[in-house]
């Protein structure tokens, strides 16, 4: 909001029910959604949406990352490397086989709609595989932006040395260095 020139005293916070019907009914003119989720359903329902991407306003976040402790990584480097390599192979396979990968979700929850799962996976692909770098790659710029945002919003009490919170060691081992 601040990057768009909107000051803190120009808006209010409201607790609202996470029910997208509140948006589709017109009760709320804007709504926060995952691009891989409700967007597709709303567009299929015929809504002409104006999508505001946080990334266009300086909000860069990695939504999902793999974490471990420093001590576990130090004691089990080979296990970490193999786990990461297997995970990345899984993502590559899912990108190349969206139909099969989407339907696999039903093995864990048979009540899911297979078509929706496949559609959500297809919508996820541009986030996983942009062509800019190998699947799973991370950039210091994004990490710095994340920590800066958290600090600016008061969620971190002190600035963090971004190089201490993530490592490229295992990705470098998987891909043989920076692309």
């Amino acid at each position: 909001m601040s990057r768009a020139g909107i000051k803190r005293d120009q808006y209010t916070f409201d607790d609202i029910e996470m029910d997208v019907d509140l948006f589709s009914s017109g009760e709320f003119p804007t709504w926060a959604v995952y691009l891989t989720g409700s967007i597709d359903l709303l567009q299929q329902a015929g809504y002409d949406l104006n999508i505001i991407f946080p990334e266009d306003y300086g909000v860069h976040f990695y939504a999902d990352v793999l974490i471990t402790s420093d001590s576990y990584a130090a004691l089990n480097p080979d296990l970490n490397l193999r786990f990461l390599r297997a995970t990345l192979r899984g993502w590559r396979w899912a990108i190349e086989n969206t139909d099969d990968a989407g339907m696999m979700a039903l093995q864990y929850n048979p009540e899911l709609d297979g078509k929706v799962q496949v559609a959500q996976l297809e919508a996820s692909i541009p986030f996983i595989h942009t062509g800019e770098a190998p699947v799973g790659w991370m950039s210091q710029g994004i990490w710095r932006s994340m920590t800066d945002t958290l600090f600016d919003q008061g969620l971190l009490s002190i600035p963090i040395d971004v190089e201490r919170v993530y490592t490229m060691q295992f990705l470098n081992d998987v891909y043989g260095g920076e692309p």
């Binding site: 990057r3 768009a4 266009d56 860069h60 062509g131 190998p134």
Partner: protein
């Protein structure tokens, strides 16, 4: 077995074996020749397209550098970065002047589908021939960061908010004393890239060309 039969079998064997050997050699030679022909064809096609791609990139970098060096663009950028974007102080006049200039360039020359001017301090797009991009920030993009230092050709990547594949070429906007004012970026026309890739030599009925990046 009678001698006559034995001789018959011997002669048949002696006549078949050379045929088999000659046939095998002819098959392997033919196969090798076809493979070599395909390899030569792929190599010459690759060289041909590589030259065309380099020329296309070269023309686009030359065009954006030339555009960024025009006095009207530089003077307008100095004014835009100094004035408030609320329309006061002549901002609108400078904005329209640069916009018209850039739109005319797009119409007269091929290579780009839009131009944007990015603010030096934070990568904010302060002017674009695609107005939907204005007000957005590109501070983390390589074409902004490296475009502050010199002419830069980005990778061909999927851009989420563009909703498609993009290739940005950027160059610094500098005043007469070499001070960087911002970045001029151009969104290259990928239809032209597709045209280069889809051109066929006509030597084979089926020809498809794929442009594959280095990392995937």
């Amino acid at each position: 077995m009678r001698l006559r039969t034995k001789l018959s079998l011997l002669f048949i064997t002696l006549s078949i074996i050379p045929v088999i050997i000659v046939g095998f050699l002819a098959y392997t030679n033919g196969r090798h020749a076809i493979e070599q022909d395909i390899i030569n064809h792929v190599q010459s096609t690759t060289i041909f397209k590589e030259v065309q791609l380099k020329l296309w990139i070269l023309n686009n970098t030359r065009q954006i550098r030339e555009t960024a060096s025009r006095a009207g663009i530089i003077e307008g950028t100095i004014a835009l970065t100094a004035l408030a974007p609320d329309g006061s102080g002549g901002f609108t006049e400078y904005y329209e002047q640069i916009s018209e200039h850039l739109v005319l360039t797009l119409e007269e020359e091929s290579g780009f589908v839009d131009f944007s001017i990015l603010q030096k301090s934070d990568g904010k797009i302060i002017l674009s021939t695609n107005p939907s991009l204005e007000g957005k920030f590109r501070e983390n993009e390589d074409y902004f960061i490296k475009g502050l230092e010199g002419t830069y050709v980005d990778k061909v990547i999927y851009h989420i908010s563009h909703g498609g594949i993009t290739l940005h070429i950027s160059t610094p906007l500098e005043d007469s004393e070499g001070r960087v004012l911002g970045v001029l970026s151009g969104h290259a026309d990928l239809d032209e890239l597709s045209d280069i890739l889809s051109q066929q030599t006509g030597l084979h009925e089926s020809e498809e060309t794929y442009l594959v990046n280095q990392c995937n």
